[in-house]
Amino acid sequence: MIEQAPQRERRDHDGWPLWEVFIRPRRGLAHVHAGSVHAPDAVMALRNARDVYTRRGEGVSIWVVPSRHIVASSPDEKDPFFDPAADKVYRHPTFYVLPKEVRQM
């Protein structure tokens, strides 16, 4: 979701920066990345995002974030950054073998 980040600091020829758009499809769900828009300021970014990404009621709430403000991890899934998660198998319930007498836990 945050893979398209730090190098995206550019502005187009008119000086309109790039904004990442996140949309909450309906109440109870989180905002999800939808794409990006160019806009001169936050208000216009919201309006552009509404016109571009929610023409058919795809959202009840929009976040726009200047693309340059997104900080991203390395995109490489095999990166050592994620190693600590891989070697702690005891975090998963299936690591523990239950005695047969326990039917359910």
Partner: protein, 314 residues
């Protein structure tokens, strides 16, 4: 190639082989990046230029409802262009650069939009045939190996089916209306049929990039396969419309399980794509004028934003 490059290439190819998606910050071969930029940009340009032939009829649509529908459709085309420019920008190009390449004729758009919309029935034919062909092309692109392009295509395909149905609806009403209306519908179909078949690109034996694009998972079917799929879908619909398709050799082939069709005039395709179509000059001139004449709006918005910087989150 250094050892690191070989390892990166191996990882890239393994991702493609596993039918996983390549994402913007992944390493990718330069040629893969260049192919995608060219294809996505051409696709985006087609959406933006494609607004013109239809916008031509907004003020003359036969009812308020038809006008509202056509406005919504043309707005969708603008939206599709923007999804695609956004996808292209994840590859490291700037939208303004792509505009520049379009305006200086260094990048192309689909040659179908170099034909004129002479009557209201043309709006129907564009929706039914041109958008129908676009959908046939685009559905497999939803599984394209490049993530942002595939995600943009999913949105676009959802919206295109409204486009095709509204076109079919226009033609159906005309075809079942007065004899003059029927004739108008038939005339539009006669003019759009062959250019629509050309939208799928040259035949497989004359399409040098197909093999590489398929190996990279950008393309899933060849031009001829997609063209056949489209014809097989459209012939029964034409029967429901009560309209004929202008190809005397078009007939069902039970052995192949497909419709056979007559030869396509590829000299016309190359003539139009290289600037010799009826509307090439007009389309590009209009696009450049709209962009140039809109400059003051973009400048004013930027000036306003600069003046208020700090008071809003920017």
């Amino acid at each position: 190639m250094s050892e690191t490059d070989a390892a990166l290439l191996a990882r890239f190819e393994a991702t493609i082989a596993a039918d996983e998606r390549i994402e913007p910050r992944d390493w990718m071969p330069d040629a893969y990046r260049a192919t995608l930029i060219r294809q996505i940009a051409q696709h985006a340009h087609s959406e933006i230029i494609g607004m013109q032939p239809e916008a031509n009829w907004i003020t003359r649509a036969p009812s308020l409802l038809r006008k509202a529908i056509l406005l919504a459709k043309v707005q969708d085309e603008a939206g599709h262009g923007l999804y695609l420019y956004a996808a292209a920008e994840t590859l490291g190009v700037d939208r303004a650069e792509l505009f520049e390449l379009l305006h200086t004729r260094k990048q192309k758009y689909s040659s179908i939009f170099n034909y004129p919309t002479l009557t209201w029935a043309d709006v129907g034919a564009i929706g039914w045939l041109v958008d129908g062909a676009a959908i046939t092309n685009q559905v497999p692109l939803c599984r394209c190996s490049y993530g942002p392009y595939a995600r943009a295509m999913i949105r676009i395909c959802k919206e295109e089916s409204f486009h095709q149905r509204q076109g079919f609806d226009i033609l159906y009403r005309l075809s079942h209306g007065t004899p003059a209306q029927h004739e108008m519908a038939q005339d539009a179909v006669n003019r759009w049929w062959w250019p629509t078949l050309m939208m799928f690109g040259p035949p497989d034996d004359q399409s040098p990039h197909t093999a590489q694009s398929m190996a990279w998972g950008i393309k899933r079917f060849t031009n001829d396969e997609l063209r056949q799929k489209f014809i097989d879908m459209i012939v029964p619909q034409a029967e429901v419309l009560g309209l004929t398709l202008p190809d005397p050799q078009l007939r069902w082939n039970p052995e192949r399980g497909h419709y056979d069709h007559g030869p396509i005039d590829w000299s016309e395709f190359y003539r139009v794509i290289n600037g010799g179509g009826p509307c090439n000059e007009q389309r590009l001139r209009h696009r450049i004028e709209a962009y140039t004449e809109g400059a003051w709006v973009r400048e004013a918005a930027a000036a306003y934003a600069a003046k208020h910087a700090g008071t809003a989150a920017a």
